[in-house]
Symmetry: C2
Subunit: 461 residues, 2 copies
């Protein structure tokens, strides 16, 4: 006989609706934490959560329990072991309940326990980061984080991509100056490795070497940025997904991005249905509509040059942007991106072929000499979700661009060499994992989608 | 009609042996890199690898090619696009070949290309870390790394474990003093976060908070250690897997470790068969026997105290250890561990209940007051593969042990608080991912299982 030991197993049997299966459930043993406990003297109700499922299970106990007095005083948060009888309750609020035969105390709760049955603000919960995963909202967030991680691995592995752990300790960076430095001795910071050491801001440079061996590869790991910004989207430590594909151009890249985004949304809807429903009900009531729209709408493409014309036209017609000086060569701001995806495209939109001056040195120069084969994916409600490009595979052009960017040729010679040792056209993209999490949950602060967020001035726990 | 665009797809169709399927393959287009190219004037053979599969595909071309002269001079490493006809060759060395219709150059190779058709030493290949994934050995290693990563995720996710990204920037550590320090300004190292910042050596402390919300959780991410050691097993940056399970004791922990190790070995044998065969033939001819033995032998258990008696007896009977002073309380050396697992248990062996003095403060004190509920899994050929323990869930005892370890109570109060807010018995373990990789491949230097290894004094690329 199959054993049912978790709340998830019980819900799944019941949701699956297999009567034969359910008939087998009789006595159950559960362990978990009390969410609420109320008792009227003769009958008591405990909402128990064991962490395996978003929903609680209702325990019903009576004064016949040996330790009834004790049990009736168990506080929210108490860890208990339960034995009881599983009973379907087709007319109840819950589909089933457990008629308790015994309850044993596993771990008591001090009355100072800060999580009580009331709404706590996100700001307050950040101050108890070690406890907030126990709340409904953060339980949903961090399970989604796990489910989305798996979605990413399955998406790439199913297609034969090789997962590469690019190094975090590095001497090079392609992501600007806001980098953390690492040392064992601050007075002599180069003493351990013999050279200046940074925390990586991207695995792309390194993973390109692996694309030249395995064709299709991806990274998924932590990255770091030491910007002194305290906005809702900045974190000092965050996770990135960076696929790199060989024998591929910008169109191949965009096809992969579209597949990936749609796959991940579907995967989360399928594998975290209770959590997604919760987000839609409590966090962002437009969430499901937004996500369903994205998975059902082919992604559009628009040249950067056309985007600029459209924005100019919008300004002329009276649309107000904070930055209304629209000119070719500018970097698009979030307000511009959202206008393009929400008002113009009314759905997911790739902007392609950006001016080379505002993009990175490694992006492939187009024949016009002015633009590079880059794409940003914009989505309604958020703006930029993914950034990608075809990479510059021509040795001489890449070298010139690196010189123009004042990069150390010595440090990057191996990267350049990938272009003269059987190089090929290749492309890749980056997804900020937390950005994706915010998009999928409706949570609007990066601090609330990271287990223990690190931001400028804040590193608690 | 299905498209066959990669070498893997062709091999899988042929290996699967579906004649109808194979009949559908006619014209194919491939892209890849030349491994070898030989031409006798009228007929030429190219071994092509496209990174998707461990084996090469044979291209056969004749002097009828428009660019025959050019093609016949393509060097090892050249990237090409190929069109041709798929032909089964049941009597050939390969099961099939491609009769070339056209070859186009995608990327040439400079004659200085350091990878030629000959054996290169591991030491030499470390000096060309950006190219070594293209060699057979490192291609096999880094695909196995990807496959093993996925094995770990599937093992835990299939059982409902929640994947937690514990932070790498941290103010606390439970793994000793050899930690890297992080700052934006070495003259004022606390300026960014307002406190001293380390790179994490373990996610365990943080993930315990999540086990108290989700019951079953795991981490899988980078960790750091700044030991000034240059041995074949030390790296400054490496990956760790750290599961943590609530409502679980040491026996549950060991059952999970055994399941995990066996699952991962089976998964790699199934999903990287060519690579595993290669390791067995070229790297360690005892590999398959060793792994098959492990997956077919129930893991044994032995008390530390008994292990000491057995080692004493062995010394008495003339067995030579480098460290032959065996006494209760000592930390077992690798030679002792290997004797126990290879000679005594002749298979995987858990040593349990170690003296508390040689184990970490967070391990649960046994009733004897002398030992803790810890387990190390020893396996033949390697010694320690996994270390785990039941955690101390009793507030007062944990607090006392932390005081004895001179830990800052202020920094760890939140960790202690997990014990007074509905704590429960729980356990967990850690697997060094690179150690596991070495075990599964027979590769005996950690530098050769990491994409871009970082070790004391070495941070190239």
């Amino acid at each position: 006989m199959e054993e049912f030991k978790t709340v998830r197993e019980l819900y799944e049997a019941v949701n699956f609706g297999d009567v034969m299966q359910i008939d087998l459930i009789d006595e159950v043993e559960l362990e978990g934490w009390i969410k609420t406990n109320r008792d009227n003297g003769s009958i008591g109700f405990i909402e128990l959560n064991d962490g395996t499922y978003f929903k609680n299970v209702q325990l019903v106990y009576t004064s016949e329990l040996d330790n009834h007095d004790e049990v009736s005083h168990y506080l929210t948060g108490t860890a208990i072991d339960v034995k009881g009888k599983f009973v379907l309750t087709p007319n109840g609020k819950q589909p089933f309940e457990i008629q308790v035969k015994s309850i044993e105390l596993e771990g008591a709760v001090d009355p100072s326990y800060p999580l009580q049955k009331k709404r706590h603000s996100f700001e307050y919960l950040r101050e108890i980061g070690h406890l907030r995963p126990r709340t409904n909202t953060f339980n949903a967030v961090f399970r989604l984080r796990s489910v989305l991680s798996m979605a990413i691995h399955e998406f790439f592995q199913d297609q034969g991509f090789v997962y590469v752990h690019t190094p975090l300790l590095t001497g090079i960076t392609c992501e600007g100056d806001d980098m953390f430095h690492v040392a064992t001795d601050f007075k002599n910071p180069n003493s351990y490795f013999g050279k200046p050491t940074l925390l990586s801001g991207s695995g792309q440079i390194h993973v390109e070497a692996f694309a030249m061996a395995f064709r299709d590869v991806y990274t998924f790991g932590p990255t770091f940025r030491s910007e002194k910004s305290s906005t809702r989207t900045h974190a000092s430590e965050f996770w990135m997904i960076e696929p790199e594909i060989a024998f591929a151009d910008l169109d191949d890249d965009m096809a992969l991005i579209e597949d990936c985004v749609v796959y991940c949304i579907n995967y989360c809807l399928e594998n975290a249905p209770e959590e997604m429903k919760f987000f839609n009900e409590r966090i962002d009531t437009t969430l499901m509509d937004r996500l369903n729209h994205v998975i059902n709408t082919p992604f559009k493409k628009m040249e950067y040059t056309e985007a600029i014309e459209i924005l100019k036209e919008a300004v002329k017609n009276g649309h107000k942007f904070d930055e209304s000086r629209i000119e070719w060569g500018m970097d698009l701001q979030s307000e511009h991106e959202r206008y393009l995806t929400e008002v113009v495209a009314k759905g997911p939109l790739f902007i392609i072929n950006y001016p080379k001056e505002i993009k990175s040195f490694y992006m492939r120069e187009n024949d016009d000499g002015k633009t590079v084969a880059a794409c940003d994916l914009l989505v309604p409600g958020v703006g930029e979700l993914v950034g990608g490009s075809q990479r510059e595979e021509r040795y001489d052009i890449l070298k010139r661009k690196m010189e123009e960017s004042n990069l150390s040729m010595e440090k990057y010679q191996w990267y350049l060499d990938l272009r003269r040792y059987g190089g090929c056209k290749h492309a890749g993209f980056g997804i900020g994992f937390e950005r994706f999490m915010m998009y999928l949950s409706g949570i609007n602060n990066i601090r609330d989608v990271e287990p223990f967020p690190r931001t400028y001035g804040n590193m608690d726990y």
